[in-house]
Amino acid sequence: MKKHIILYLFLFIGSALFGQKSTVAGIVVDSKTGEPLMGVSIYNSKEKAGTITDINGNFSLSLKGQAADLNISYIGYKSMVVPVKENKTLSVKLEENQQNLDEVVVIGYGTQKKETMVGAVSSIKSKSLLTVPASNLTQSIAGKVSGVAVVQSSGEIGRDEAAIYIRGKATFSDENAKPLIIVDGIIREGFAQIDPNEIETINILKDASATAVYGVKGANGVVIVTTKRGITGKPQISVTTQVASNFPMRLHRALDSYHSVLLKNEVLNNAGSQPEYTASDLMKYRTNVSPYTHPDVDWIDEIMKPYSIQQQYNVNVRGGTKTVRYFISGGFFNQDSPFKGDKITKFDRYNFRSNLDIDITKNLLASINLGARIEDRNYPASMQYNTWEIYHAAYARSGRKYPAYNMDGSYAGDTDFPNIHATIEDSGVFEENKNTLEVGINLQYKLDKLIRGLSVKGQVAYDDDSKHGKVYNKNVAVYQYQYATDTYIQNGQDRPLRWGWEYVDNFRKTYVETGLTYQREFGKHNVNVLLLGNRMISGFNTELPYASQGVVGRFVYGYASKYLAEFNVGYNGSENFAKGRRYGLFPAFATGWVLSNEKFFKESSLYKIINNLKLRASLGWVGNDRAWSYDPVSRTTSTARFIYLQQYEYATSDNSYMFGVGDNIVNGIRQGLIANPGVSWETSRKLNIGIESSFFNSLINLNVDYFHELRTNILTSLQAVPGYIGTTFSPANIGEVMNQGFEVELTHNYEVNKDFSYNIKGNFSFARNKIINMGTSNSVLPYQRAEGYSIDTPLKLVTIGYFQDYKDIENSPSQLALDGNSDVRPGDLKYKDVNQDGVIDHNDFIRTGYPTVPEIQYGINFGASYKGFDFSVMFQGTANVSFDKNWEIMWAFSNGDNVYPQHWYYWTPETGNSKAQYTELYGKYQNNEAGADYTLSDGRYIRLKNLDFGYTLPQKFTEKIGIKIIRVYVSGLNLFTWSKEPYLDPDNRNNRGGYMPPMKSFNFGANINF
C-alpha cells in the first residue's frame, strides 16, 4: 500500500513536471433546476480512475493523460461522456432520465421512490392509455404489465368491462378473486368508465409488502388508479378528439340454408326417418328461387352493421400558481348501435373531473378531488337482463325457416322463431341512466416546527352512484306464410309501446381516514413512517351497509440507498364476522439490497455492464373479506353475509301458503342457513422474491419476480352434506389453494440521436394454482377430486377418436353405461377406458385441460419515434387456458335447429378419423354429449392488440398559430388475432358463445396542446 502511494506521488510529481498529468475539477448540476447533484459518479475507464461529487456537486480528479473522456453517471439521470481538455474546470449539466422521472410510484396510502421500493409493483403510464380506442379502461390494461390477466368476454356496447385477475386466481369464486380497486386513495367499485385522459398512472400492487396495508381486503392484489393533478405553471390546455370505427370480429355464422337442409335430411336418413326436405325443396334452397318459402337468411348479415362508430372527446386544462394547482377535465364518449335498423341502442358517457391542490398556508395543503360521470345506456327491451339476447339470437336462429320479411313486408316468424328485426326494433326500449359522483377532500399539515419531517393528514370521501332503469314494452305480431292457401298466420299481437317497469338503485359510500407521516434523513439513514386509521361504510339500496375500519402502519428504513427494509401492517376488520372475530392483523416484511450502490460493485468491472441491481424479498399475510362463498358441486357463488348469525327469514310470496276461503296468504317464516359462528376471512400468505436490474446505462432494464402464495380459509360450501340433512349449512373456511409463478419485464429504450429513438417493452407472466383442499367428500374417486388440480380444471371423458365401424365398437369397451346412452354408431366419439375396467362410465371422467383464467399472459410493445413521427405496436397473448363449448356452438341442430361450418365436415366412413371435424350425423347425441374433452377448446391466442401511428407537426410551425403541440394519429385495437380456436373469439368464454365478441377498432384522432 505504502509503495503504491509513493508511486502515485512520484507519478504525480512527474506528470506535473512534464505537463502530462492533469487535475480535472468541476461541478455537476441538474440541467433543469441548476441544483448541484451530490454523489454523481465520475469515471475514466482508460485509467480506471474515478470519484464522486460532494454535497455541493463539486469534484476533482487527477488524470495521467491530458485528454480523456469522463463517464458521468447518476441514478435517475442520463449518463454522459464528457471529453476533457487540459486543466479545465468543467460544468456538467445532467439531464434527468425521462424513463426514471416517473420513478415515484403511488402505493397504498402514499408514494414511494421506485429506487427504494421493495414491493412488487407494476405501473402503467397515462400516455400508453390515451391513444387506444378501447371503450373502457379495463381493456386497455391487457398486455401492458406483468402479473395481470385481462379477460374480456363481451363486446356489447356499454357492457364490455373485462375481468382482471392479478397473479391468476387463488380463490374459488370469481367474485372473490377480484382485485381491490383504489381510485385517488379511496376504495372504489371500478374504474372501467373513467376517461383515460384523466389518468396519470395505474399501479398494480402484487405482493404482500405492497398490499398488507389493505389488510383484510388486499389478498387479490390492488389496482391503484391515480388521476392527473395540476402543475405550477401556465395553463396547459389539451384537446383530444378521436373517432373510431368498430368492426365486430369473429362473428359466428350458421351454415347457409342449402347446406343446412342437406345435413338435416342426412340426420333423418341416418336415423331411418323420412327426409324433411324434398328434392324440390333442395333445388329451391340451392338456387334461392323462392326466397319467401325457401329462405336463406344470414341473420348475422341481416342485423350486424359492418361497423359502428365510436367517438371520444376530451378537453382538459392543468396549471397552477404558487398556491393553487388545478386539473380540470371534461370528456364525452359515445358508441352507436352495432345493429342495423336499430334506433335505440346507444351508450353515452360524460366524464368530469376537477382536482385542486391549494397551499392554504406554507404548511397546510388541501386537495379537493371531484369526479363525476353520467352513463346513459339504451337497448331494445329484450336486452334488459343480459348482454347476449340479440347477438345470440342472430347466430343461433335458423335462417332457413322464415325470411326476414314476408312478401308483404311484414315480419316473418312464429312464436318459436321470433323475428330478430322485430326483437331489435319493436320489442320496446330499455333505458338505464347511471350517475356517479366521487368526492374526496384531503388535508395535510406539516408539523416540521414540532418535529422535522412529521406531518398529519386527513381525508374524507363521499361517493354516490345512482342508477335508474326504465323498461317500455312493445309487442309486434309476426306472420307465417302459408304457401298452399296464400294466406298468413298471425303469431302474437301488435301492442303499442307502453310502460313496463322501472328500478332505482342507489349506492353510497363514506370514507374517513386520518394519520401521521414522518419522513426524515439522518445522514445515510432514511426513515419513513406512516400511521393511519380509516373507516368506511357503504351500502346498496336498503341493504345493511357494509362497514369496515382499521389501522394501517408502515415503517420504511433505508441505509445509504443500499440496504432497505420495510414493515407494513394492516389491522382491520369487517362487520361480516362475529364480534370478537372481526379484526385481523396482517403484517408484511420486506427487505432489499441495492448491490449496485455498493462500493465493491461500482468498482468492479461488472458495473460497466450492470448499472443497477437490486434484490428484494417480501413475506406477508393479507386477507380477503369479500362475502361470497363458492359451492364446488354446483360451481356457483353465493353471498355469505352475516352467516355467523342464525337467521330466520320471511318466505317470499312464491313460497307462501294460503289457508281458508279467499286469499288468506300466510307469509311463512323459515330458518335460513345453519349459522357458522366461527366464520372468518380468507388469508393469503405471500412470498415474493425479485430482481431489478439495468444494463448498459439503463439501456436495458430487466425485472424478474417469483411469487408463492398460500391461500387458506377460503369460504366454501360443504360438499359432504347429504340431501337428507334437509337444510343448508353455512359455508365454512375450508378451502386451501397454492398459487405460484413468475413474471419477467424487459424494457429497452434507446435514443439513437436527437431525431430517432425507440423502445421495446416485453412482459411475461406465469401463474399456476393448485387446490390443496376443497372439502371434497372421501367417496369421490381419487382421480376425480378437484384437489391437486388448478381451480376450474374440467372433469371430462377423454376422447380417443371416432369409432370406425361396428367392429371397432364391438372390440372397444362398452359405452352404453353412460347416462342414457342406448346406441353407439360408427362416427361416434370413442372414449378412453381410464380405469381399464372394460366399461366406459362415470368412473372414466378425469381432470383434464386448463382452467378458464389463463396461466400465461404476455405482451410485447415496440415503439419508435423519428422527428415528428411516432409509432408503436403491441402484441398481447395468453396461453394455458381452456374454454368449454356447449349447446349451439358445439352440437348440430342443438338449439334453434341450426348448424355451423364445422358440422359440414361430419364423420362418414369416407372421411375417417383424420378428416372429420365433427361426429356422425344421426340425431342421437347421448353418446357424444356425455361430457368429453371433445368440447374443450384451446383458448390460447396472440393478438395484435394496439397499433398507433402519429405525427406531431413541427413546433416552429404550430407556434405561429399559438399551439404548442398538434399530434394527429391513427390507431387500431384488436387488429389481428391468431388463435387455436377457429370460430369464436378466444376471450369469449361464455360456453354458448352467446356474447358479442370484442370489437376491432380503427381510430383517427388529434391531440392539441395549447
Partner: protein, 530 residues
C-alpha cells in the same frame, strides 16, 4: 361496525311468539309441490310427460331424460322433501316453548306436522325405496352426518307411525277459515295410499300378500266411511247430476262451492293464463296462445273406452279408426283437445298443416290436454281462476278400495263393483259388466285408474308398483297423424313418434350420483351403476 345486522328474527323471537311460530308452521306446507310442473327448470313439465299419458316437446323438460333412460338426478326430490321433514322436526323440537293459544290449536298443529312429515317421507320412498329415517333428528355440522338407508318396510312403518299420531291429533273437519289444512281424512287417505303401494307387486317380489291388501282395503274403507260428529259422511264424490260436466268442474270447484270430493289439495291463489301451470298445458297456436308442451299420446287416448263401456280393442265396441273420437267415454271430451274439438271458441286444427299443427314439431302427438284448463282463462285476458293441485280425492280412495279388496278375493265381490261403478256413474259411464274374473277386474280397475286419475301424478307410480312399466312405458309412443284430403275429409293414421326406454331397474329411481359421492354408506338400487 358494531351495528347489529338489524335482524329481529332470531330463534327465541320466532318460537317465543305464537304469531311468528304460526308462520313457521305455515312454511312447512310450502315444501309441498304442485304436480302441474315438476320436471325441468324453466317452465317445468308434469310427470305425465314421462309416462304413456303424454310427451313434452320442450328440450329442457327432464321428462325427456326419463324417456331416454337417463335417470341420474332427474326429479331429485331428496333435498325438497327432507327440507320439509327438517322444518317439521324443528317445529316439533320447539312445541314446548311456543305459546299456543289453546290445547286444541296445539294438537291440531302438531297433527298437521306429523302428517306433513309422513307425506314428505312417502314422496321419497315411492321414488327410491328405503331411505334414511331421521325420526326427530336434527343434524348439525359437527354431528356424524353419514347414515345408511333403512329398508322399505322400516320406512313404511315410520310413515304409518307418524300417520297414527296425525290421525289422533287432527280434527275431522276444519273451520272455513282454516280450510286447506290437512284433516284427519287426509291422514287416513295417505295411509290408504301408503298401504296400497306397500301391498303392490313391486314390493312383494311379484307374489302379493293378501294380508297386506286387506290392510290397504280397510284403510281405504275407513276413509269412505269417515263421518263427522253428527254422523254425516265427510267426503262424497262431486256429483250434481251433470255427469261429465261434474268430472270437469271438480278440478276447479272449491269446498265452499260444494266440492266435498277433494280430501287434500294445494291451496293456492287464483292463477291467470300467464301462469306457467296454465301456459305449459294450454294448447299452442293461433287462438290458443299457450306453450302446448303437454301432448297426450295415442297410447293414452286408446285407453278411453267407448261410451258403451267397451274397450276399443273389442270388435263389438263400434270403434271406427277413421272416426276415432265418436262415442267415447264422456270424460274423453273433458280431458283431451283433439282435431275438430273446440276450446275457447277456436276449433283445433290438428291435422298436418292445420294451423295448430303446421309441422309435427309444433304438436308432438296431435292432442292437447283440456283437463286443468278453466275455460275462463284465455290468452290476453286477465281473468283468474282457482287452480288447486289435488293430492287426494275420494275417487282415488274408491279405486284404492276396489283394487285392494279385489286382490283379497278369489272373484270380485259386489263391494268391488260398487266402488268402481260409483266412479263410472258420476261421469255417465255404464256400469261394469258382471261376472268378471279377478284378473279381468284387475285390468278394468287399472284402466279406470288410468282414465279417472289421468294427469294427476298417479300413473307414473301405479304402473311401476304394478310392474307394468316394460309393457306400458317401453317402446313406441304413438301420435295421431291426420292428413286432410282435398275434399276436406280426414285420414287418421297412428304412427310412432318416439322410442322410449324402460327396463325393470327403472321401477325405482337410482340414488343420485351426487348423493352417493357425499355418503359412501348409501347403497345404490339394483341394476343402477351410478
Amino acid at each position: 361496525m358494531e351495528r347489529a345486522p338489524g335482524l329481529n328474527l332470531d330463534e327465541s323471537t320466532v318460537f317465543g311468539n305464537f304469531e311468528t311460530a304460526y308462520r313457521f308452521h305455515a312454511d312447512i306446507y310450502t315444501s309441498l309441490q304442485k304436480g302441474y310442473n315438476v320436471l325441468g327448470s324453466f317452465e317445468p313439465a308434469p310427470i305425465a310427460c314421462a309416462t304413456d299419458e303424454a310427451d313434452s316437446r320442450m328440450g329442457w323438460h327432464t321428462s325427456n331424460s326419463f324417456n331416454m333412460g337417463m335417470y341420474d338426478g332427474v326429479d331429485n326430490q331428496i333435498a325438497r322433501n327432507y327440507e320439509g321433514i327438517r322444518k317439521a322436526n324443528v317445529f316439533l323440537s320447539k312445541v314446548d316453548i311456543i305459546p299456543f293459544p289453546s290445547p286444541g290449536v296445539k294438537n291440531r298443529m302438531i297433527g298437521e306436522v306429523y302428517f306433513l312429515r309422513a307425506f314428505y317421507f312417502h314422496e321419497l320412498i315411492k321414488r327410491y325405496g328405503g331411505m334414511p329415517i331421521l325420526n326427530d333428528k336434527l343434524l348439525y355440522p359437527n354431528d356424524n352426518l353419514l347414515l345408511p338407508r333403512n329398508s322399505y318396510k322400516e320406512c313404511v312403518d315410520a310413515v304409518l307411525s307418524d300417520l297414527k299420531q296425525a290421525i289422533q291429533f287432527l280434527p275431522v273437519v276444519m273451520s272455513e277459515s282454516e280450510q286447506g289444512r290437512v284433516t284427519r281424512g287426509a291422514a287416513m287417505a295417505l295411509k290408504s295410499r301408503v298401504l296400497l303401494y306397500a301391498a303392490s307387486p313391486l314390493w312383494n317380489n311379484e307374489i302379493t300378500n293378501p294380508d297386506k291388501w286387506l290392510l290397504a282395503a280397510r284403510a281405504a274403507k275407513e276413509v269412505l266411511d269417515l263421518t263427522d260428529s253428527v254422523g254425516n259422511k265427510v267426503f262424497s264424490l262431486y256429483n250434481t247430476g251433470n255427469k261429465a260436466k261434474d268430472y270437469e268442474q271438480l278440478f276447479f270447484k272449491r269446498p265452499e262451492e260444494g266440492n266435498r270430493e277433494v280430501i287434500f289439495w294445494y291451496n293456492a291463489s287464483p292463477v291467470s293464463f300467464s301462469n306457467i301451470e296454465i301456459r305449459v298445458w294450454a294448447p299452442a297456436g293461433e287462438g290458443f296462445g299457450g306453450t302446448g308442451a303437454v301432448a297426450p299420446t295415442q297410447n293414452f287416448v286408446n285407453l278411453f273406452e267407448m261410451a258403451n263401456g267397451k274397450l276399443i280393442t273389442d270388435p263389438t265396441s263400434g270403434y271406427d279408426p277413421q272416426n276415432p273420437y265418436l262415442n267415447r267415454d264422456p270424460r274423453f271430451y273433458k280431458i283431451i283437445i283433439y282435431n275438430g274439438s273446440v276450446w275457447q271458441g277456436t276449433t283445433a286444427q290438428l291435422y298436418l298443416g292445420g294451423k295448430h299443427r303446421l309441422t309435427k314439431e309444433k304438436c308432438v302427438s296431435g292432442y292437447y290436454v283440456r283437463k286443468y284448463l278453466p275455460e275462463a282463462l284465455a290468452e290476453n285476458s286477465s281473468s283468474t281462476s282457482y287452480h288447486n293441485w289435488i293430492y287426494f280425492r275420494l275417487a282415488e280412495i274408491y279405486l284404492n278400495y276396489a283394487e285392494a279388496l279385489n286382490e283379497t278375493l278369489s272373484s270380485p265381490s259386489a263391494e268391488v263393483y260398487d266402488a268402481v261403478n260409483a266412479i263410472r256413474n258420476r261421469s255417465g259411464m255404464p256400469v261394469l259388466t258382471t261376472n268378471l274374473t279377478q284378473d279381468q277386474m284387475r285390468e278394468r280397475i287399472k284402466n279406470e285408474r288410468a282414465i279417472e286419475l289421468c294427469f294427476e301424478e298417479h300413473r307414473w307410480w301405479d304402473v311401476r308398483r304394478w310392474l307394468d312399466g316394460v309393457k306400458q312405458f317401453n317402446g313406441s309412443m304413438y301420435e295421431m297423424e291426420i292428413t286432410k284430403r282435398d275434399d276436406g275429409s280426414m285420414v287418421y293414421n297412428e304412427v310412432p313418434f318416439e322410442e322410449r326406454i324402460f327396463t325393470g331397474k327403472m321401477n325405482l329411481y337410482p340414488i343420485p350420483l351426487s348423493e352417493l359421492q357425499k355418503n359412501s354408506l348409501l347403497v345404490q338400487n339394483p341394476g343402477w351403476s351410478y
